[in-house]
Amino acid sequence: MKEKVIVFDKVVKSYPSYTYITGGIKNFLIHFNKSIENFKKRHVVLKEISFEISQGECVGFIGRNGVGKSTLLSLIAGVLKPDSGKIFVKGKVSPLLELGAGFHPDLTGRENIILNSILLGMTKEEAFAKISSIIEFSGIKDFIDQPIRTYSSGMVARLAFSVIAHLDPDILLIDEVLAVGDIEFQKKSFNKILEFKQKGITMVLVSHDLENIKKLCDRAIWLEDGKIKMDGNPEEVVEEYCKKIEGKV
């Protein structure tokens, strides 16, 4: 029996409708009563979700847009707090960021690597020790001392992935970022993910690429209407999910 590293116990998460409030102080004061009303109205995304993920498991979440997959990852990362229910997460969580989040366009590739590695939890020492290996992996040799605003979006993505590939997480969160760069780099990053998997790193994946889910995951969870619709073997879950979608179309 493997150790449970992520446990969700009846987790409820709702978002407030902040429209009136982010509308500003002016709107807030003018529509005061309405604003207070709106403030209380919350849009529930996850309704009493419970599941457990064991050490070394690779779990893929599927479901339609807006069903709460990314919210779930944010909850695991600890960036969001649930309204009710308990979340237990053990170990260092590293999110695979959307392309180049936290990068600064005016800094060079090298400077961005250092910045990003430290933001993601490395110390300076570790970052400097790993930098040549990160550059090597990214394959961006000639441009590494150029500001990244001159990079193509594929190159930025490669750089971002290369930093992640050198982190040492216990739990890796992957949100729709597997398909980065050209075919060659996609292969490279896919292999890296497999390598993480072999090392026994727990992975939680959100993807619309159902083939990837089938290839990578040991388990798939299908979310619908804020609840778990199906949880099990990826082949089966994906098949059911496709049936449902096709039935609708």
Binding site: G24, S74, A77, V79, P95, G102, G121
Partner: protein, 256 residues
């Protein structure tokens, strides 16, 4: 992420500050001069308006002006940019669980470095008026720096977090800074203020700090009691702001 140690936090701050500084100077080698341009231009305008035209009875007025304007510039730049700093790092705050209050720190420290870099200019101006650095500066500069840091950082925390919920706060901040500038003895001396309004001026925490810097730079004076008063004042404001920031920070990822 409680297992992270102090060294990691230092690394985080240093790399964030280095980023801000690099970005600022990357596109212009004259970066340092540019950051002097604004306060010096303001000093020139005030000199013309108040010394040449209105003839305020303050000695060494140009020196007087820059000793107030340079520290004011630090406060004003940090507070002025604070509404946007969390918004500008939205993608990071939404994904990575790291202490978000480090983002305002780095921006405040970045402006602080600029302020420290203007001290040589103050020294040069001093020479022109036969005022020389005093040994008390070794004590006074770090102490006033400390007090102003808390005040500035506190304000930045408060404004940056509230701005996420009320996005038009940014516009009010500009007006607020303008008002604050005129109720702070930057271009006038507290002795010129009518007796009955003086208390109000002293109530403004920035006043005490600007006056403290000016006494230090112009007279080589450091009033310990006065300092403690404003340090305490700044620290209380900082604690309040930090509390608000912490309370709101759980909601940041929801509203960004």
């Amino acid at each position: 992420m409680k297992d992270r140690n102090f060294k990691y936090y230092l690394d985080l701050i240093s790399v964030l500050v280095a980023k801000e500084l690099k970005v600022r100077y990357k596109n212009s080698y004259l970066g340092y001069l540019w950051s002097l341009l604004n306060p010096l231009a303001m000093a020139l305008i005030f000199y013309f308006a108040f010394k040449v035209i209105m003839r305020v009875p303050i000695e060494n007025y140009s020196f007087f002006l820059i000793t107030g304007l340079f520290p004011w510039q630090w406060f004003s730049n940090s507070v002025g940019s604070s509404p946007g700093i969390l918004l500008g790092n939205a993608s990071l705050i939404k994904k990575v669980n790291f202490p978000v209050y480090f983002i305002p720190i780095s921006s405040v420290l970045n402006d602080a470095v600029h302020f420290l870099l203007t001290i040589p200019v103050i020294i040069v101006f001093g020479f022109l008026f036969n005022k020389f650095p005093s040994p008390i500066w070794i004590l006074g500069i770090p102490l006033w720096f400390f007090a102003q840091f808390f005040l500035t950082y506190g304000s930045a925390l408060l404004i940056s977090s509230i701005n996420l919920f009320f996005r038009d706060l940014e516009r009010l901040v500009m007006v607020f800074l303008l008002i604050l500038f005129y109720v702070t003895p930057v271009f006038y001396d507290i002795t010129l203020v009518p007796e009955k309004y003086r208390k109000l001026i002293f109530l403004n925490p920035v006043s005490g700090i600007i006056m403290g810097w000016r006494d230090l730079f112009m007279k080589g004076a450091f009033d310990f009691k006065f300092y403690c008063l404003y340090l305490l004042y700044s620290f209380i404001l900082f604690l309040f702001s930090f509390y608000v920031f912490k309370r709101l920070s759980y909601k940041f990822a929801e509203v960004l």
